[in-house]
């Protein structure tokens, strides 16, 4: 393991321990202790419909500004030939408008947004379009290669990663308090591992 990778990993771990540090999608979680039951005020209140748009173009009108509630502007974006994850300027612009129209004002506390809900392949694809090539910059805290409004970015982060647990290293069951059997081999193996450093 390269020293750079080692230190980068430690920095990433250190950041997640700081609950207020927003440094990337994974940093967003709906965990406020005084979180209310309230849904979102809505940037528009309805999700985009259909997939019939012309690739990468904002097909439908973009009506009033975000947050108005009621009738929502509808954007219909189409997956580019290179796939949702590959940046394509027109698709990116269309997707930004679509997410802005569909997402609630406070996606983290909304019950109507997140974890790919409501089901909408276009919105999922759009968030992949908005996020994928921005990941490294998000996590490193540097300027985004494809800048996007903070609200749209947060909405996609919550939708894609607001909470999740995909992991080959999924957490084991926590121990019970009476799980106190001595395991003497641990000390030796642990010390052995340290010695490698």
């Amino acid at each position: 393991m390269q020293a750079g990778a080692f230190e980068a990993a430690l920095r990433a771990a250190a950041k997640v321990t700081l609950g207020t540090a927003l440094f990337g999608c994974g940093a967003i979680a709906r965990v406020s202790p005084d979180e209310t039951e309230a849904g979102a005020g809505g940037r528009g209140g309805a999700e985009p419909t259909g997939l019939g748009g012309v690739g990468g173009t904002a097909e439908a009108s973009v009506g009033g500004a975000s947050g108005a509630g009621g009738e929502a502007p509808v954007e219909s974006c189409q997956e580019p030939a290179s796939g949702w994850a590959a940046y394509e300027p027109a698709t990116f612009a269309c997707c930004t408008a679509a997410v802005d129209a569909a997402a609630p004002a406070d996606p983290e506390s909304s019950r109507e947004w997140g974890f790919h809900t409501p089901e909408d392949p276009m919105l999922d694809g759009c968030c992949a379009q908005i996020l994928t090539e921005n990941y490294d910059a998000l996590w490193s805290g540097s300027a985004l290669p494809h800048p996007v409004d903070d609200g749209v970015l947060a909405a996609c982060c919550v939708r894609a990663h607001g909470n999740a647990g995909c992991t080959p290293w999924g957490p084991p069951c926590p121990p019970a308090m009476d799980d106190l059997e001595p395991v003497p081999w641990i000390a030796g193996r642990g010390d052995s591992a340290r010695g490698v450093a």
Binding site: A13, G26, W169, P175
Partner: protein
């Protein structure tokens, strides 16, 4: 894959516990969503195994016994499990996956691992945020009980991680492309993560983590 299946159950159970713990609204639903993600990503990991020519078929062990910590208040019991899952296990995962990802070349597998890593970050942060918010609100008795749980949780973490990081495992050429790393190196990173990241942060939250770490091997059956 098998880990995901087990972890899915862990998050389902955590969700039930959070529903009753009074730590905030919607937290149980969030944990249950973690569970669904575990299963979905287990399928993705299995697909990678199949793509590489393996057989993604494995038996799943019995569901683990999720501790509800009788004798504790609901919130302290929930904080024990959040601490074990989010602040310990998932924070170590952020570190280990982060290192593997850092060394992977660009490509589909790195993209997959990137998604995994993002999810791990969200998981770990879920635990840290709740523990940081509620630990200061504990009564003296609750805090003492949570402190007493720390060496148990830390020892469990160490046992689990070492069991999954084979000391002798040294992957060959091209292993970085698959996100594999030396088990020995990973152990070093595991200890560094605990000692340089987790323990200081827990201490800063008023939980005696360094002393708990020092005493973890002194535990004896009750």
């Amino acid at each position: 894959m098998t880990n995901e299946a087990q972890s899915s159950y862990v998050f389902e159970a955590l969700g039930e516990q959070l529903d009753e713990a009074g730590l905030g609204a919607n937290l149980g639903a969030a944990a249950r969503a973690f569970a669904r993600e575990e299963l979905r990503h287990g399928e993705l990991c299995g697909a990678v195994v199949e793509a590489l020519g393996g057989s993604a078929v494995a038996g799943v062990e019995d569901q683990p016994r999720f501790p509800m910590h009788p004798g504790s208040t609901r919130r302290e019991a929930a904080l024990r499990n959040l601490l074990s899952i989010g602040c310990l296990s998932e924070t170590v995962a952020v570190s280990l996956i982060g290192a593997e990802r850092e060394e992977m070349p660009e490509g589909p597998l790195r993209e997959l691992l990137t998604q995994i890593w993002a999810d791990e970050i969200g998981h770990a942060r879920f635990g840290w945020t709740l523990v940081a918010a509620h630990a200061p609100l504990l009564t003296a008795e609750e805090r003492a009980q949570l402190a007493a749980y720390l060496p148990v949780a830390l020892r469990h973490l160490e046992r689990h991680e070492l069991a999954h990081l084979p000391d002798a495992h040294a992957p060959g050429a091209g292993s970085n492309e698959l996100g594999l790393c030396s088990g020995r190196d990973a152990r070093v990173l595991f200890y560094a993560t605990v000692e340089r990241v987790i323990l200081p942060r827990l201490d800063a939250l008023g939980l005696p983590a360094r002393s708990a770490w020092a005493s973890r091997h002194a535990l004896r059956a009750a």
